[in-house]
């Protein structure tokens, strides 16, 4: 079956959704007796059970649902809102793209008018500042959300000091996989069946895949260590066998000497291929990640580390004549035999000043269903790694998806983006200190020491309240 016949268009999907939900709508419209209706059949590896929920008494209200994305992901979020509205007559969902603009979110929270449901990838920043509702008691009483349907570590990402502040939703899965463009790799004489397993091996591959013009400008990049999730500190830490932050000890790992090795490794790479300016110029031209114009989608970057959304986004956005293969992310030589995977993604949360927390939680329940997953999967290419979804998902729908679906269970080490109250500080410190090394302002030792000192000072300040 070729890709064209496999793909479900948005129109097809909406038509199918309308058919599938019309029964539920008719049932819900048949007011006044709130009888239990089947919401979802949840299948886990251990049990199969039919969960039910009692429709709440209908009342007219508007839920404010804020999410970060525009584009296909934003469209998927709007479609989730529409589908929820159809199943819950009387409830209108007002969707707003917040773009993860902190000034927008902070002023809304500070002004006491936050959304009723907020999507965010760093919910602990808000939870640690007492802005989100602890939803653990509600989940315990929920007939829809089954905690066992998720990998345990996924809940840890939205847990702060023993309380749970969000559910994995929209997209939440394996983040670190090596994606290799088949044509260029084979042309370079590299064996896709024997992909690089260490950073050193990846370096050899990248060297063979990088080309420059006479002036030393990059024409094609084998691998950009600052694109995709390789631009994340977590990717490097995990590949060196450590995490970034220990939530129990409330301590960063930046004083670990492996961070010095990481800085030196990236610095050596960048300077081997002409220095940071050459890479900045290349990125400036194409943009990064998986934008349609990005070097990776255009085929001028051959290798990239990227996450669970990649198979879907590549199918939706990248050059159709190219093909890609997927493999474990490379590791430091000492960890060559230990594959790793990191689960990360987005959470649906309820601000503590939500006007309608009951209905907001009802929306969260909907977001946990496989139906919601299907909407995101077909419209944006993402998914949440729930066990029921992974078992049902058509892994052939997007080439490469199977690797992402299977790798969390198969990895020797499974990490998460540890919940941290100064999440943004981690990112800013990482970029600042890495830049300082690459541009020659600091040694790797100085950068690692400053990263530890600055991040720890910010953490202590945040914890002090």
């Amino acid at each position: 079956m070729n890709e064209k016949t496999k793909r479900l268009t948005r129109r097809d999907f909406l038509r199918l959704s309308a058919l599938a939900t019309s029964g539920a709508v008719i049932t819900a419209c048949a007011r006044p007796t709130p009888t239990p209706v089947v919401i979802e059949k949840v299948v886990t590896k251990e049990v199969e059970k039919v969960v039910t929920a009692t429709p709440a008494p209908v009342r007219e209200l508007t839920l404010d649902f804020w999410f970060g994305w525009s584009g296909v992901w934003g469209d998927a979020c709007k479609e989730l809102a529409n589908a929820f509205e159809e199943q819950n007559p009387g409830i209108t969902v007002n969707t707003v793209e917040h773009g993860w603009a902190q000034e927008k979110l902070l002023t809304a929270f500070a002004g006491g008018v936050p959304p009723d449901v907020m999507e965010h990838y760093a919910p602990i920043e808000f939870a640690a500042r007492e802005q989100l509702l602890d939803i653990d008691p509600r989940i315990a009483n929920s007939a829809v959300i089954d905690k066992d349907n998720y990998f345990d570590v996924m809940w840890a990402a939205s847990t702060w000091q023993g309380k749970l502040y969000g559910i994995p939703a929209f997209g939440f899965g394996a983040d670190d996989c090596l994606i290799m463009q088949n044509q260029a790799t084979e042309t370079a004489g590299l064996d896709l069946d024997d992909p690089p397993q260490t950073w050193d091996e990846l370096f050899v591959w990248a060297d063979k895949l990088t080309t420059m013009d006479e002036a030393g400008n990059l024409l094609q990049i084998g691998f950009d260590p600052r694109d995709g999730v390789a631009d994340y500190p977590y990717c490097w830490a995990n590949s060196f066998g450590m995490g970034v932050y220990d939530p129990e000890a409330q301590k960063f790992s930046f004083d670990d000497p492996r961070w010095v090795d990481i800085f030196n490794l990236i610095n050596d790479w960048i300077h081997h291929w002409g220095g940071p300016q050459k890479f900045e110029g290349f990125r400036e031209t194409y943009g990064g990640w998986l934008a349609p114009t990005s070097s990776f989608c255009q085929g001028t970057q051959i290798l990239q580390l990227n996450g669970y959304w990649s198979p879907g986004e590549i199918a939706l956005k990248c050059k159709k004549e190219l093909d890609w293969s997927y493999a474990w992310a490379p590791r430091a030589a000492d960890y060559k035999d230990e594959t790793y995977q990191i689960l990360g993604g987005h959470n649906a949360t309820i601000p503590k000043d939500s006007k309608y927390p009951d209905e907001a939680f009802r929306f969260l329940e909907y977001l946990s269903t496989d139906e919601a997953q299907r909407i995101v999967f077909f419209m944006a290419g993402g998914y949440v790694s729930t066990k029921s979804w992974l078992e049902k998902a058509n892994v052939d729908f997007y080439p490469g998806l199977e690797f992402y679906i299977n790798s969390p269970a198969e990895a020797d080490n499974l990490y998460i983006y540890e919940p941290c109250p100064v999440d943004f500080v981690i990112w800013d410190q990482w970029y600042t200190q890495l830049d300082a090394v690459l541009w020659g302002d600091k040694t790797a030792e100085e950068a690692a020491a400053d990263m530890y000192k600055n991040a720890t000072a910010e953490l202590e300040s945040a914890l002090a309240g």
């Binding site: 000034e103 902070l106 808000f126 900045e280 290349f282 830049d435 541009w439 002090a464």
Partner: protein, 310 residues
């Protein structure tokens, strides 16, 4: 009715009624001023002495924010130096450019109105749109300037992608968008009496002496105004740097206002950011004082003394 110089208590009932009526009429402005300007300004003084994340109550920390900024924050120093560098070059160069342009557009050239419009357009184009335009002009591989350089057999320049070039590039953008200053200079130039040039010619002054001894002194109040406003604007530079470089590379264009924004909204440190705002305020005040003090030497206020004019 003349109430100037007399206290409220000595006013007649009619005068008091008129005063109160006046207050009522300007009350929308007064309310707006106190709620949206005075209160936030006064609050930020208080917040600058607190640890305040906006979401929880502020906690008094005394001078800690100021101490940490000045003694313990390398990035603060770097952003301050970035901003001073930018202001030191952008303000004089923008003013020289705007002044020369105004001189040109004040002379009897063909299509003068058209050119005046063309050169003023950058000031009315939304900043974000301008920034997007410059993004393409400065692009390393596909940018307009580098394509011209390459076609002339020269090498590409890393306008926005190298710390050494990024600030000068933003200064170029700043110069390009100095249409408002040009307009003020143009108005000032048109205010210079022709009779002074005629008298200078009679005295044997050449074009340079006319420019230096007639034009510049008479336009000097406008120069003071434009330079002062230019410094205030330069110290608050945000949008172009935010869109074109995001403060990079290697924080080379991380200006003061960008870092203040990051602290306030990204790092939840509104108290720290408030302290930054007040330090910036003091710097701007110092620059303004220096400019005003020095203006007695170089600004011509007609027949009035400097003090009288101010």
């Amino acid at each position: 009715m003349n109430t100037v110089g007399r206290g409220y208590l000595t006013w007649s009932a009619r005068e008091k009624r008129a005063f109160l009526k006046g207050l009522v009429f300007i009350s929308p402005w007064l309310v707006g001023f106190f709620v949206w300007v005075a209160y936030p300004i006064l609050s930020s003084i208080y917040y600058s002495f607190t640890r305040y994340d906006v979401l929880r109550d502020p906690r008094w920390v005394g001078l800690d924010n100021y101490r940490n900024l000045i003694l313990g924050d390398d990035l603060f120093t770097k952003t301050l130096l970035n901003t001073l560098y930018f202001a030191a070059f952008a303000v004089p160069l923008s003013n020289i450019y705007a002044f020369l342009l105004a001189l040109l557009l004040n002379s009897p050239i063909k299509l003068r109105s058209f050119f005046r419009t063309i050169f003023y357009i950058p000031s009315i184009v939304p900043t974000v749109a301008s920034a997007m335009l410059w993004m393409y002009i400065f692009n390393f591989n596909i940018g307009l300037i580098n394509n011209i350089l390459v076609s002339l057999g020269m090498t590409r320049l890393p306008w926005l992608t190298d710390p050494a070039w990024a600030k000068p590039s933003l200064i170029v953008v700043s110069i390009w968008s100095s249409g408002t200053a040009m307009l003020i200079y143009l108005a000032a130039l048109q205010d210079v009496p022709r009779s002074l040039y005629d008298a200078a010619k009679v005295d044997g002054a050449n074009l340079w002496r006319q420019f230096w001894n007639v034009t510049v002194p008479l336009v000097s109040p406008a120069i003071l105004f434009n330079v002062l406003m230019g410094f205030i604007g330069a110290f608050q530079s945000f949008t172009f740097a935010w869109i074109l470089t995001k403060g990079g590379p290697n924080n080379a264009t991380e200006f003061y206002a960008l870092y203040l924004y990051r602290n306030a909204f990204r790092h939840f440190k509104m108290g720290y950011a408030s302290a930054m705002a007040w330090i910036l305020f003091i710097i701007v005040i110092l620059v303004a004082v220096v400019l005003f003090k020095s203006s007695a030497r170089w600004v011509y206020y007609g027949g009035a003394s400097h003090e009288g004019a101010v």
